[in-house]
């Protein structure tokens, strides 16, 4: 009873916050609702006993990804009218993605869940230990591959945005720290009425 009640509570909150993410007038509010959505999905994970996945979701998505979203959205000067004017351009691709994800969910709920038996997982160890047992042994290749995919995405983003400008003045900390007074200051004898020459 408690389990079912909490599930529906968090699931309702999750869907409500997702709707608010889409329909908020202010982009910053959207991101804050997204954070709430992440938080509710964390609760759902903890509810089914996957506390490790739940907390990791919270640390990665709420603690890092959403903060960077917030960071970027706060810096942007977004006008809602310009946002709304070209919203129709994205409808086909959004529908495509929604269709793919919906098909996956239907496939998983109808075909997969009837075949696999959830009770097959032994409850002798907590799920953190269970993940630890298989992550670097059974799923070693998959784990490393997903790491490489993320690395590629990161390098791609850096390459796309990084422009090398030869004129930019950079700070070289080691050079700065290794200078002494003699490199910067010199004592000059100034003759009266003549001044000094620049060099």
């Amino acid at each position: 009873m408690f389990f079912v009640g909490s599930f529906f509570l968090f699931a309702t909150f999750l869907i409500t916050t997702c709707i608010f993410v889409i329909f908020s007038k202010n982009p910053v509010n959207s991101v804050l609702f997204l954070v709430l959505a992440f938080l509710n999905s964390t609760f759902l994970f903890i509810l089914i006993g996957a506390e490790f996945v739940g907390i990791i979701l919270a640390i990665v998505y709420i603690g890092a990804v959403a903060i960077l979203f917030l960071f970027v959205v706060m810096m942007l000067d977004i006008q809602r009218t310009t946002l709304m004017s070209n919203i129709k351009r994205y409808v086909p691709i959004a529908l495509l993605f929604a269709g793919i994800i919906l098909t996956e969910i239907i496939y998983l709920t109808i075909y997969k869940s009837s075949k696999s038996n959830p009770n097959i997982i032994t409850r002798s160890k907590n799920n953190t230990e269970q993940i630890g047992d298989v992550l670097y042994t059974k799923y070693f290749i998959d784990f490393q591959l997903s790491g490489i995919v993320l690395l590629l995405a990161m390098i791609g983003a850096i390459v796309l945005t990084h422009i090398y400008r030869p004129t930019i003045r950079r700070q070289n900390i080691d050079k700065q720290n290794s200078t002494t007074a003699t490199d910067r200051v010199k004592l000059v004898k100034v003759n009266s009425g003549q001044g000094i020459e620049n060099d």
């Binding site: 709420i62 603690g63 810096m75 907590n126």
Partner: protein, 332 residues
């Protein structure tokens, strides 16, 4: 009373037995800070209110409570009021998993350290929401600095925690302390201990890393627009976070409730007293650092986090795991 309601009452009492001492020790920590700074700078510090000025912080709180709470007219009212509450809540819920003796803990979670890490990483929201909701330049700049700073230092804190976890083999905070019965992790992992204390200073926005509230350039940083008790909540949360990070340092590196050496006069002292003494020591280091070092510049702070701490901690994770693997000392 039915068993369920009795259990709930006991639970609530237990929570109060953590929260009330934390809030009182916040007041005493503020007093201690002013006294320690005074002593270091050859001043007297607060000495008027109560014996030795010990009631000074309580007088300050009363003063804050009676002031008018100003709401900037162009601010986002809901978020403006919500941000200090969130900050204080986050600094208090972290205490749910901190074991102050071998048996005394509110919730002995299996993933206690992950919970603490998650809660401390949420802390940045209070700051960034406050900065944005104020709709003013200085708070916004303070919030941006703070967000960048907290994310940067969380990375090295994460690696330091991983190093400790490799030595323990459990995410449970009680297990972490119990595995230090023979030797505190501060000794074999000494560089990590130092990195953790410095990162804790940055994570709690303390000097020399208090750039989010750098008064010389940003007035008061993210709480420039705050007044009265909403300012008080930020203040309270900052000091509660300091105590929390000190407790975490004690749990991870200084053997929690264990005495330094397990010999007669030391091991009859209750564990909780050892725990409090160690927290006190770390807090004193926090205050000592404040009186000693000048504030870092923003680029120096980022360089320290990303170019020095991150490679250092990464190498230590690999070294520690290689060492434990080679000598077959890996737990379990």
């Amino acid at each position: 009373m039915s068993p369920l309601s009795l259990e709930i009452t006991l639970g609530v009492l237990k929570i109060f037995s953590f929260v009330v001492p934390v809030l009182v020790s916040v007041a005493l920590l503020v007093y201690l800070e002013r006294k320690v700074l005074g002593a270091i700078q050859l001043r007297k510090g607060p000495n008027v209110v109560g014996p030795f000025g010990i009631l000074q912080s309580f007088a300050d709180v009363l003063k804050l409570l009676t002031k008018e709470n100003l709401l900037p007219s162009s601010s986002n009212k809901f978020l403006f009021i919500f941000a200090p509450m969130l900050t204080l809540i986050l600094s208090l819920i972290a205490w749910a998993v901190i074991p102050i003796s071998s048996t005394y803990v509110i919730s002995n979670l299996n993933i206690g350290i992950l919970y603490l890490f998650a809660v401390s990483s949420f802390g940045v929201y209070g700051v960034i929401i406050a900065g944005w909701a104020s709709n003013s330049k200085y708070p916004f700049l303070g919030a941006l600095r703070s967000a960048a700073q907290m994310i940067s230092y969380e990375v090295s804190i994460g690696f330091v925690i991983i190093t400790v976890l490799i030595c323990v083999g459990s995410l449970n905070l009680t297990d972490i302390v119990e595995s230090q019965k023979n030797i505190w992790f501060a000794i074999p992992l000494f560089p990590m201990f130092i990195v953790f204390i410095i990162s804790a200073l940055a994570e709690t926005n303390r000097l020399p890393f208090d750039l989010p509230e750098d008064e010389a350039t940003l007035v008061a940083g993210f709480f420039t627009e705050y007044s009265s008790i909403s300012f008080g909540l930020f203040f309270l949360a900052e000091y509660a976070n300091m105590i929390m990070m000190s407790s975490l340092t004690v749990i991870l590196f200084l053997g929690g409730w264990y005495p330094p050496i397990d010999i007669f006069p030391l091991n009859v002292i209750p564990g909780i007293i050892w725990f409090v003494l160690k927290v006190f020591l770390i807090l004193f280091v926090f205050l000592w650092v404040r009186a000693t070092f000048p504030r870092y510049r923003y680029d120096q702070l980022m360089r320290l986090g990303w170019k020095i701490f991150l490679p250092l901690t990464l190498v230590w994770v690999v070294l520690t795991s290689a060492f434990l693997f080679y000598f077959e000392m890996l737990p379990k």
